[in-house]
Amino acid sequence: MFDAINIAVLIGAGLVAVSGITSLVSQRLGAPLLLVFLGIGLLAGEDGLLGIRFDGAGAAYFIGSVALAIILFDSGFATPIRSYRVAAPAALTLATLGVILTTVFMGVCAHYLLGLPWIESMMLGAIVASTDAAAVFFLMRVGGITIRERVKSTLEIESGANDPMAIFLTATLVEFAAASGESGAEMGVQLLVDFVLQIGLGIVLGIVGGFLITRLMNRLEDVDPALYPITALAAGLVVFAAAGLLGGSGFLAAYVAGLVAGNSRIRFAHRIRRFQVGMSWLAQIGMFLTLGLLATPSTFEGLTLPALALAAGLIFVARPLAVWICLLPFGFTSREVAFVGWVGLRGAVSILLSILPTLGGVPGGGLYFNIVFMMVLSSLLIQGWTISFAARALRLLVPPEPGRVDRVELDLPGKTELELVGYRIHPESSIAAGERVPRWARPLLIIRGGKALSIHNAGPLEAGDRVYLFGTPDQLPLLDRVYTRPGGADDPDVIGHFPLNPDTTVGQLSDEYALNASGERDRTLGDLLQKAFHDQPVVGDRLTLGPIALVVRAVDEGRHVTEVGMILQPGRNSIGRPPGFKERLRNWFER
């Protein structure tokens, strides 16, 4: 008996450890890490090197569900409500309408390609309708790319919020497929009732749960701080399960609860976040490994071609079309729409859902798992590998945050505005060249050759020194400039050739450069950008003004434009003032 335990632990822990180690390899190769985890699962599985036989669809679904609940709770917890302000309407449209449209489009594909009955086709559509939070979050952060905030937030919120929708649709369609015989009208009514119940209860219970978690955490006084994150996570899972038992969507409740708790003033928030990052990794590895183990590639035979055709339909038709329709009213540029359409990564959630037909007793349920497995593989391979390329090609990158090596937010009592930041002094920075450090940027602590020095006994700063100091959030961009390479990240096509004062008026600018601006001459540039982007400007937002373009270079915490850049010859890359709906439609057709 002890041998059995040891063998199980050896295999389980061994696989997780190998997955963790291979993350290094994947970083070097740029291969999507999740693909590697899935690959390890496959290698260990029935047709792989270890030949482990694992057929527990039920067990896999259980592990996957818990893992997904953890991931969703964490992704909610880590999503700042700020990005909701920037992107919520578009993202939530994608997460609801987008999922339905993708389901329908893929349903049609499946019906004609595989010759499945309509309900089963739609079920397959629903299974692959959601983008994978883990895949999207992760892949947008690797490869050292920084994508424009509006686009990034939209994708991230969508990927977190659409899983519950896809799960709901799939579960409902599985029920229909298993219990055929009801009339269409009955099904429609039941679908609607279920939908309202699941989503409504999920949201309400999530909000209530989130508040309760926050209160609970803030009430726990003398508990060992190490227990906080565990309690928080367990409470998140309690919300998940309770919402599910009460008839709501547990996944949605977990996500919402995370969102509420993460954006409340909760004690030890940083500690909880750090713990959750680790748990989230473990959940992802666990989920992908399990699903990889469950798959039996030798049974894929004969399905490869249809699966690839379906994957192509998803990647090139269904997703882009659904995204295009959903984003039509939101003033996204065609480049942005193209990118959102491309980053429709499918992942573990789809594979997880494809187990449902088997569990739900749909005849021939194994078929869905195999097809979906191959579709997800293709999506990870094709889309996952090309994200940074696509972002570059579509010019959606903003300059990365320069050279900050550490940014420690401290839980300081009282005024918590200060942050401890660390920099490694860049050899080409002016400081390394012997420039005096401005008084407001003096480091508290200098680490040189493993020794901690104070500014008084360190002498002049040298390249490679690590410096630590306190700064307010608005000082950070200036500190970046002091300590890191001068002008290194400033591509003028992105942040403009010249800086302009935000309180310069349109009239002044027009006179200086003969722009012939007729209206709104008294309006300041800051105000103009503020209005043009609905009071939610983000760095990188552009507005064409005749032959030049204005770009938002910096915003403060209150989302006010604090620096404006002027781009010469913006050419056709420019992103115009968000036009009215009709105008937007016209622009679309002219493009």
């Binding site: 401005p438 200036l478 400039r481 002008g487 003028p492 050739h497 722009l515 404006v564």
Partner: protein, 154 residues
Amino acid sequence: MDIATILRTEAVKTVSAISSKKRLFHELGDLAAQVYGLKSAEVATALQERESLGPTGVGGGIALPHARLDGLPQVHGLFIRVEKPLDFESVDRQPVDLVFALLAPQDAGVEHLKALAVVSRTMRDPALCAKLRANSDPQTLHTLLTAQPRVQAA
């Protein structure tokens, strides 16, 4: 459009030190008067006025002051290398030592912007800037500035 068409050899100069931004604009005004026969004070004022919209120090020790003026036949360039960098309120708070000024005719809105783009692109080349900083002879500086591969002005 390339640098050679807008920058005459005489309009390139090395100065050991300049005390302030204001003094720099007067220096540029004097140079413009000398080379292109413009009114020194007018040039200095126009450059100073443009500066009120936002500093033309683009970072990395480079400034590209510019303005439109009455009575110019074409876009004119001026280049001054300051051996001791001066404070210019640049975006990156770095003092400035390479100054490329552009003066454009009042009616040359688009030409002006094109010239600015060309100069801006040229001056963003770190290799060129390093060479400019390593030389002080005006003739050499002019050769370096105009020897740049023709950049597309489209």
